[in-house]
């Protein structure tokens, strides 16, 4: 008999534990008073993202977004980026090229800045949800020192539970189509050395969020 069958057989032979646990009726969200209106969602998201150490730039137009990006990227010549079709702004690559900057091979391990879009943002935790896919590389938000995420305000949902409810409406396709869903809440950090909080343990030391409020 295989180990699998032995394990399952042993478990089935045991008296079933916890028979008195009731079936789930309602599902309470971790945060009961999550914001719902667009304005509240945005202000809560910005506050929470800043509280966990992100820098948030609110911009009202695509041109503003590009201007801000170029400002952040001033000292970087080589840049990792998701494919432009997954970023919520257009004309970005041309603007980069006009400044003499190049988009690096997505597998490059020595580039110091990475630009991604996001698939959703969570207001009550200040989090970004990124799904892997064609042109949506995992490493872009992981290897560089600086991660810049371009997010539309309309992508902000109240919380993790709401995002899950949306996935269910979408037949959980995210879990079969993407190999990786990463929820990012602030820059990489550690407190392993004597409880001192240090940013940039292994992942990005800084996370900048460019939030397009009119898009």
């Amino acid at each position: 008999m295989s180990s699998r069958d032995v394990i399952l057989k042993r478990l089935r032979k045991a008296a079933q534990p916890f028979q008195d646990v009731p079936p789930r009726t309602e599902h309470m969200a971790m945060v009961p008073d999550a914001p719902q209106t667009p304005d509240d969602l945005q202000s809560r998201f910005v506050a929470e993202a800043e509280a966990v150490g992100c820098t948030v730039y609110c911009v009202t137009s695509q041109e503003d977004a590009v201007t801000h990006l170029l400002e952040i990227l001033r000292e970087h010549d080589s840049i990792l980026s998701w494919h432009e079709s997954h970023l919520p702004i257009s004309g970005f690559c041309e603007a980069l090229q006009s400044q003499g900057k190049t988009i690096a091979d997505p597998a490059a391990t020595d580039v110091r800045v990475g630009i991604t879009g996001a698939d959703a943002a969570l207001a009550v935790t200040g989090s970004l949800v990124l799904q892997s896919g064609t042109g949506k590389y995992r490493l872009t938000s992981l290897l560089p020192d600086l991660h810049i995420a371009l997010v539309k305000a309309s992508q902000i949902v109240p919380d993790f539970e709401t995002w899950i409810a949306q996935q269910r409406e979408d037949h959980l396709s995210a879990f079969s189509e993407s190999s990786n869903t990463i929820i990012i809440t602030g820059p990489s950090k550690t407190a392993d050395i004597a409880q001192e909080l240090i940013l940039g343990a292994h992942g990005p030391k800084q996370v900048h969020i460019v939030l397009l409020t009119s898009a």
């Binding site: 180990s3 699998r4 032995v6 394990i7 399952l8 042993r10 478990l11 008296a15 534990p17 916890f18 646990v21 079936p23 789930r24 599902h27 309470m28 969200a29 971790m30 008073d33 929470e48 997505p106 597998a107 391990t109 935790t125 989090s127 892997s132 064609t134 949506k136 590389y137 995992r138 992981l142 993790f160 539970e161 899950i164 996935q167 269910r168 959980l172 879990f175 079969s176 993407s178 190999s179 990786n180 869903t181 990463i182 929820i183 990012i184 809440t185 602030g186 990489s188 550690t190 407190a191 392993d192 050395i193 004597a194 409880q195 001192e196 240090i198 940039g200 343990a201 292994h202 992942g203």
Partner: protein, 472 residues
């Protein structure tokens, strides 16, 4: 991992004498405890408690249907492209890992923190097979350099001060000496980066497996776990069979009570949900992802009144809350898991006779149950284990003592003889350092001396003198 739980008392003595250890552990545990209080009850105590019960029920529902749920998880994981295999014990788990590494000709292994791999002694087995394995969680990296096991579920190097960590880096890796924690982290970041990029195989544990979606979930702050599961072409996850949960909604609750209870964070920096190997069109992520379901004693526990212990989500809150753990640290418990959950799990997984002191390593104050995000009744299990120790005659000193006491108390003559013997003994050895097992009392406490004369003696003398005064 070698089990030294039988030496709990001796190990605790060493820990208690170590001032650095005690201050490091006290600082970290109190801070984590306070942050948890704020995070879990930020809305209201009643709401926090209701969420805790929701989490407790989610985990128990999963355990109730564990065999069916494991089969469901296996089929969803397989549909997502994972390779699923099973290991009945530590030896089989180690062998499966080695087989997979050999199949892919792996040499360098980057490893993300996993308590299960400590349990099965994985690193030693990999090193014995001439493979290089690097622990990449910063705390784990430090203790691997210092050749020690972790001493806390989520903060493995909780027992070391900054100066001690500096000395380890200087001694083992020639770091330029610094007292700045930021510089030490930067040094480790740079050192580990080349291992991340060069590794052929990444190894991790799992915090949860979601049966309905076939997903493997890992929480982390540093990002090393993302590196180990994204950069190498092969990822192997070792997963205890109790880690399977039913739905995404259950995951939302359990993940958030885990992070709030463990570190006081609303979410950890990375909530990493892995749905299998890279899909067509994706250009990074491993092409082969293996899940090994490991039993290693869990199915035996499942059949006992201790099944509740399998609900543990390894947040470490009971360790932070425990007055015993706060004083003696994790290594005193002699095996992988310290603190209240360790005092229960070690006897269950390693055998009661190999962990006899641990059920007594508790004042039964109840803090562990109170802080547990899935409401595990740890004090109840500690008491039941104590009863088992007596029933199974693992430690019969207490029983023998009580028998002797009963025998003495049943006869006035034996009682008096016993009392006389005690007074005689007191004159010979005193009461400052009682001999044998009684010394456990006088080592830390006073033992008030016996009165020079017993009540019976005084009574007899009084009667005698009365008779003299009133001759009939």
């Amino acid at each position: 991992m070698h089990n030294d739980a039988r030496n709990f008392v001796a190990l605790s003595d060493v820990a208690i004498a170590d001032a650095d250890l005690r201050s490091a552990v006290a600082l970290a545990t109190t801070r984590a405890y306070d942050k948890r209080m704020v995070a879990l009850f930020e809305h209201s105590p009643a709401y926090g408690e209701a969420i805790r019960q929701q989490a407790a029920e989610a985990k128990r529902r999963a355990l109730r249907n564990l065999p069916d749920l494991l089969e469901k998880a296996e089929s969803s994981l397989t549909a997502n492209g994972f390779h699923v295999s099973w290991a009945i014990d530590a030896a089989e788990a180690r062998q499966r890992v080695l087989d997979i590494i050999r199949q892919h000709q792996g040499r360098l292994i980057s490893k993300s923190k996993s308590m299960l791999t400590e349990e099965i002694g994985l690193n030693a087995a990999l090193e014995a097979a001439d493979l290089q394995v690097i622990e990449t969680d910063l705390g784990e990296f430090i203790i691997q350099l210092n050749n020690e096991p972790p001493s806390h579920i989520i903060a493995p190097v909780i027992h070391k001060t900054k100066a001690q960590i500096r000395d380890i880096f200087v001694r083992e890796l020639n770091m330029t000496p610094t007292d700045d924690a930021g510089e030490m982290v930067a040094f480790a970041r740079q050192t580990l980066r080349e291992y991340f990029v060069g590794a052929d195989v990444g190894i991790s544990g799992a915090n949860f497996i979601i049966a309905e979606t076939g997903s493997l979930c890992l929480v982390m702050n540093e990002g090393n776990g993302r590196m180990c599961t994204s950069l190498p072409n092969v990822h192997i996850a070792l997963v205890g069979i109790e880690k399977v949960i039913e739905t995404l909604e259950d995951y939302a609750t359990l993940d958030q009570v885990l992070t709030r209870s463990g570190t006081g964070q609303k979410l950890t920096v990375y909530t990493n949900i892995i749905n299998g190997p890279r899909r067509g069109g994706e250009s990074d992520g491993p092409e082969h992802v293996h899940v090994i379901f490991v039993d290693n004693g869990r199915s035996d526990v499942y059949a006992t009144k201790y099944a509740e212990a399998l609900a543990c989500i390894r947040c470490g809150a009971c360790q932070n809350a425990c007055p015993v753990y706060r004083n003696v640290g994790g290594h005193s418990y002699g095996w992988v898991y310290g603190g209240p959950i360790g005092a229960v799990l070690t006897p269950l997984l390693e055998g009661l006779e190999n962990a006899a002191p641990l059920p007594h390593a508790s004042s039964l104050c109840g803090s562990c149950k109170q802080v547990c995000p899935v409401d595990i009744d740890l004090p109840r299990m500690l008491l039941d284990l104590r009863a088992d120790l007596v029933d199974e005659k693992v430690d019969n000193r207490w029983q023998m003592g009580l028998k002797g006491w009963a025998l003495t108390m049943q006869s006035p003559m034996r009682y008096e003889l016993g009392a006389q013997a005690a007074r005689l003994g007191q004159r010979v050895v005193g009461t400052d350092n009682l001999p044998g097992v009684l010394g456990n009392w006088t080592k830390y406490r006073d033992f008030p001396g016996f009165a020079p004369k017993s009540f019976r003696q005084m009574w007899r003398e009084r009667e005698r003198s009365h008779r003299k005064e009133q001759p009939s």
